[in-house]
Subunit: 455 residues, 3 copies
Amino acid sequence: MIILFGVFIRYNEESDTHWTEHRKAKNISSDIENDFYFRYPSFQDVHVMIFVGFGFLMTFLKKYSFGAVGFNFLIAAFGLQWALLMQGWFHSLDYSDGKIKIGVENLINADFCVAGCLIAYGAVLGKVSPVQLMVMTLFGITLFAVEEYIILDLIHARDAGGSMVIHTFGGYYGLSISWMLYRPNLDRSNRLQGSVYHSDVFAMIGTLFLWMFWPSFNSAVTDHGDGQHRAFINTYLALASTVLTTVAISSLFQKHGKLDMVHIQNSTLAGGVAVGTAAEFMLMPYGSLIVGFFCGIISTLGYIYLTPFMEKYLKIQDTCGIHNLHAMPGVIGGIVGAITAAAATESVYGAEGLANTFDFEGAFEDTKPTRQGGLQAAGLCVAICFGIGGGIIVGCILRLPIWGDPADEHCFDDQAYWELPDEEEEESIPPVLQYNNHHTHNKDIAVSNFNMEQN
Amino acid sequence: MIILFGVFIRYNEESDTHWTEHRKAKNISSDIENDFYFRYPSFQDVHVMIFVGFGFLMTFLKKYSFGAVGFNFLIAAFGLQWALLMQGWFHSLDYSDGKIKIGVENLINADFCVAGCLIAYGAVLGKVSPVQLMVMTLFGITLFAVEEYIILDLIHARDAGGSMVIHTFGGYYGLSISWMLYRPNLDRSNRLQGSVYHSDVFAMIGTLFLWMFWPSFNSAVTDHGDGQHRAFINTYLALASTVLTTVAISSLFQKHGKLDMVHIQNSTLAGGVAVGTAAEFMLMPYGSLIVGFFCGIISTLGYIYLTPFMEKYLKIQDTCGIHNLHAMPGVIGGIVGAITAAAATESVYGAEGLANTFDFEGAFEDTKPTRQGGLQAAGLCVAICFGIGGGIIVGCILRLPIWGDPADEHCFDDQAYWELPDEEEEESIPPVLQYNNHHTHNKDIAVSNFNMEQN
Amino acid sequence: MIILFGVFIRYNEESDTHWTEHRKAKNISSDIENDFYFRYPSFQDVHVMIFVGFGFLMTFLKKYSFGAVGFNFLIAAFGLQWALLMQGWFHSLDYSDGKIKIGVENLINADFCVAGCLIAYGAVLGKVSPVQLMVMTLFGITLFAVEEYIILDLIHARDAGGSMVIHTFGGYYGLSISWMLYRPNLDRSNRLQGSVYHSDVFAMIGTLFLWMFWPSFNSAVTDHGDGQHRAFINTYLALASTVLTTVAISSLFQKHGKLDMVHIQNSTLAGGVAVGTAAEFMLMPYGSLIVGFFCGIISTLGYIYLTPFMEKYLKIQDTCGIHNLHAMPGVIGGIVGAITAAAATESVYGAEGLANTFDFEGAFEDTKPTRQGGLQAAGLCVAICFGIGGGIIVGCILRLPIWGDPADEHCFDDQAYWELPDEEEEESIPPVLQYNNHHTHNKDIAVSNFNMEQN
C-alpha cells in the first residue's frame, strides 16, 4: 500500500504549497475559495457517518458490539486507502505524469466508496471473520470503482448522493454474499440474535448521526453554491417525512400499537437513501416529502414482512435488514432520479441552470433531459447487475474453507474474535447464578445431611 | 403536509438553479458567498443539539431511554416540517407570488422552533403519550411562530440565541402543561424515577453535545462576519464559567461534598441559555463570565431547593428540571439582553457597528439604545405570557381523556409504548430471580415432601 | 478570573463591531473572509475531541465513568479560561493598550492547551482527587504557555498539530506526576481496574470522535488555503494506516489471535499524534502512511510490553497508557518533523511555498531548511524537559497531604466523589444477592425450625 501510494499519489494543486502561485495564475481572490472550505464541513459529517453512524447502528446485537464498531473501523480504514487508489486510477489520473492528484473531494469519494462496503457488511454482520471482511472489502472497493466509472463517466448519469452507485450496489452486493454464505443452522446462535436495552440505545447513536448528517452526505460532492444548498434541503425534508411514516406504520402493524425499535433505528433513514440521486435536481420541497413518505412505508413494511420471507424462502439471512434500508430505497432513488431528470425543463431550471445541474457540456452539450432520464435508468441497471454479479462471485471466494469463519453456534458472539473483559463474566449475571447454584447445592446437601441425621 | 408544501414552499434564490444568474446580477464574486457556506456548519451543530443533545440528555431515567430518544426524534421531525410552514407564513412569505422561499436560514429557524417544544417535553417526560406529544408540538410550534413574529418583527427586539423566544417561552409552556396535567399519585411509579449508572453516562452524551455546540446555536443566525464571531466567543466563555460554579455549588450543598450527576448534566448548560440574547452584543468577555457565573449558582440551587418546592407546593412536576435549565436562565438572558442593549454606546460599537448590531434601519433608523432596552424587556414579557397562557390552554386540551396517556404506575416506563427486547428480561436480572424462586420453590416442596415423608 | 478577564481580555478586530470598518480599510471584499469562516468548523471538531473524545476515551473503567467524563469536563472548562489568559500574555498581548485581543484562533489554541492537561490526566486517572486535578491543570497550563512561547516564538519551530508542544509535553508531564504519586498498594483496588462490556463501547465513542476529528486538530491553526488542506490529508492517511497495523499487531501478539479492545481504543490514534508536526509540510501521502504504519506497531507493542514493565520496574502507573498513545508518538512526531523540515527543497515546495510553509519572514527570512530542522529538534528537547521537570515539581506539590486524594482501595471508584444512583445498587446485581441470601437464610431458619420441631 505504501509503495503504491509512493508511486501514484500526490497532492493536487489546492493542497500543494504551489497553491499561492496557482491562485494568482487563476486570479482567485482569496484563500477561502480553496475547495477545502467548500467541502470540509461536509467531509467531516460524512466521516462521522461512516465511522460512528454505520459503526454504532450495528451495535444493536447483545454480544456483538465490539465486532460491529471494531470491524467497521477496520474495514473502513482499510477501504479508504484502497479506494483512493482505485478511484484515482479511474477518475483522477493525471495522464501528463501518471500521478493521482488528491484533494478533499477525493477523500470524500473514498468515504463514499467505503460506505458501499459497510452497507454490505450489514447483511453478513456476525457471520463472517475479519479476514473474510477484508477480502469482501478489497473486491467490493474494486467493483465499486469500476461500476462508478461506468455509471458516472461512461453513461454520464448523475448520482450526487449515490442512491444507485452506493446504496443499490452495496445493498445487492451484501445480499448476494449473504445468499452464497447461507447457514441453515443459524438458529443455534438464536440466544444471541436479539438486542438488550442498552445496546438498542447505542444503536440509536448510530441512527441519529446518520440521520442528522445525511444532508451532508447527499450534498458533499454536488456543485458549489446552489447545488450543495438544494441537495441539503431536499434530503432534510425527505428524512423528516420518513420519520413520521415509519412511526405511524410501525405502530399500526405491531400488536397493541407498540413501536418497534428496529424500525425506528433503520427505516427512518430510508428517505435519505431515496433522494440521493434527485437531491441536486429541482425535486421541489413537496417532492422530497413525497419520496420520504413512501419510503418510510415501504421500508417499515419490508422489515415486518419481507425480511422473514427472504430468510425463509430465498435463503438470504440479512442481519441488519439492509434490503429495506439500502437496496430497495436505493432502487426507488434511482427511479425518482430518472423521472426527475426526464421531467426537467428550461422554464424551471433556467437555461444555464439546466446545463450546470446536469453537466451538459463537452460531448454531452446537446443531451436533452428526456435522454438524461434514460441514462439515469441505465445507470440503475448497471448498479444492480454489478451488485448481484459481484456479490455472487465474491461469495464463492468467501466460501473457501480457509478464512476462519465462525461456527454456527458462535455467530453474533464477540467471544470468537475479541478478548472480552473477564471480570464482567464473573461479576455481573453469571456469577450470581453460579453463586446461587453453589449455595443452594450446598444447602441441599446440608438439608439432606441434616435430615439424614434425623433419620 | 405534502399538499401544504406543494402549495406554499419553494427554494429561495440561493438554493435555486437560477443562483448563477442571481449571482451575476448581484455582482457576487464567488460561489462561496452563498449563504450556505456562512451558515451550514452552524446548522449542522444545531441539528446535532436538537436530535442527539436534547434526545440523549433525557435518557437519564432507568427505563425511559427509548421514549426519551425516540419521541424526541418523532416530535422534532414532525415539528420542523410544521415550523417551516408556520414561520414561513409569518416571516418569509413572498407577497409577489404567495410562496415561502426557503434556504438554510429557514431550516435553522425551524430547528430553533422545534427546540422550544423539546424543552417543554422535558417537563412532561414520561408522563404523556406520543399522541399528546404530537398535539403539544402542533400547538407549541404555532404559538411559537406567532410569539416570534410579535417579538422580533413587531416589537423589533433582538434575540439571536433565543433566550426569550425559545427558552423562556418553551420553559413556561412546558411547566404550565405539567401543572395542568398534575398527577397526585405519581409516586406509584417511584421505582422508575431514578437513573442507573449507564443511563447517566448516556445522558452525559446529550449534555456534552449541547454544551459544545451551544456557541453554534447562539451564533447560527446572527449577522455574517463579526456578529457570528462575537456570539460564539461570548457563549463559549459563559458556558466555561458555568461549569466551574455548578461543580462548586453542587459539591458545597451535597452531603460529604459529593457531586450530583443531575447538576453536572443540566446546570452546566444554563450559561449558554442566559447569554442567548446578549451574545451578539458587545457583552465583553468578562461580561459573559459574570453571566455564566451567576447562572451556574442559580440553576444548581434551583435543582436543590426549587424543584422539590415546586412539586410539593405548586403542584408542578418537572421531570427534567427545565425550570432551572431553561425558564429561569431564559428570563435572566432576557434581562441581561435588555441591560446590554440599553447600555450600548457609539464609542464602544462605532456608529456603523451600532446600527448593524441592532439592525437600526428602515422604520427603526432613529431608535436609541435606551429605547431598544425597553423593547427587549417588552419582548421578554410577551414570551412569558405566551408560554404560560399557551401552556394552560394546551394543557386543558391534553386533559381530555381521549389521548391514551399512561396510568400513574406506568409512567417513566418504556413498556407502555415500545416493544422491549424480551431476552433482556429473561437473561439479565429478573430471570435470575425467577430461576431462583422457581428453584427454591421446588426445593421448598422437595424439602417439605422429604420432611413429610419423614413424619 | 472575572477580574483578570475584565482587565485584560477584549475582542479582536474580526469579532468586534468595528469589523465592517476594518474590512473596508483592509479592502477585504466579503464577510466570508473573516477568520471565523476559515477556522470555525475545525474549532468545533477540536472542541468535540476535547470534551467528548478525551472524556469518553477514559470511560473504559467499570466504575469510573462519571469521574472520567465529569472531571474531564471540569478541568477542560477551567483550563480553557486560564489558557486564554496565559497564552494571551505570551502570544497575543497588544502592547499599545495592554489588552489581549481574542478571536477564533485564540480559542482553538486554548483548547489545544487544555489537551495537554487532559493527556496528563490520563496517566493519573482514578488516583487523584478533583482538587489535585485543578492544581495539576493550573500549573500545567502555565508551564504549557511558557514552553509553547519558547518553542514557537523564540526557537521558531513549527508545530501545527502539537506533536511536541502538546503531546510530548503533556505525556511526560503526566507520567512524571504519576511517578511522584506512585502507590505501591494500588492492587487493593484491583477489582475495579478492568472494564465491562458496555464501558468499552462507551470508550469507543471517545476513540472514534478523536480519530475522525484528528485531521481537524492538526489543520486547525495551519495556514489558510493549502496549509489546512494538506495537513488534513496527511493526518487522515496516517490515521488510516495506523488502524491496520494496530489490528494486525494486536492479533499477532495476543493468544488465540484475538483482538484486545485496549489497543483498538488507543493505538489506532497514535498516527495522528505522530504526523502532528509534519502535517503541514510536504510530507507526501506515502510519507504519512509510513509514519502511521510504524506508530501503530510501536504503540501497540508499548501496551503489550512497555506499560507492564514501567509499572513494575520504573514505578510509573499509567492508567490509560498515555506513554504509548501520546508521549512516544509525540517524540516520533517531533523527529519526523525535524527530518521533513531539514529535507525541504525549493524544487518541491516552490520558492514562495517554502517561505510560506516555514514562515521564513522578518528575522527568519534567511533561515535555511537544514537549520529549520535543527530548530525543530531543539523544540522537541525543550518539550521533553518541560514535561519531565514540570511534572516532578508539580508532583511534589501534589504529594502534600492536603488535597484529599482517595485511599488505595477507593481508587477507580466513583463512589468517592459522586452521588451514585442508589437504585442501581439495590436493583441490579447486589440486591439479587441480598434477596437471595435473605431468602435462603430465612428458609434455612424455617427448615431448621421445621426440622427442630420434628425432633
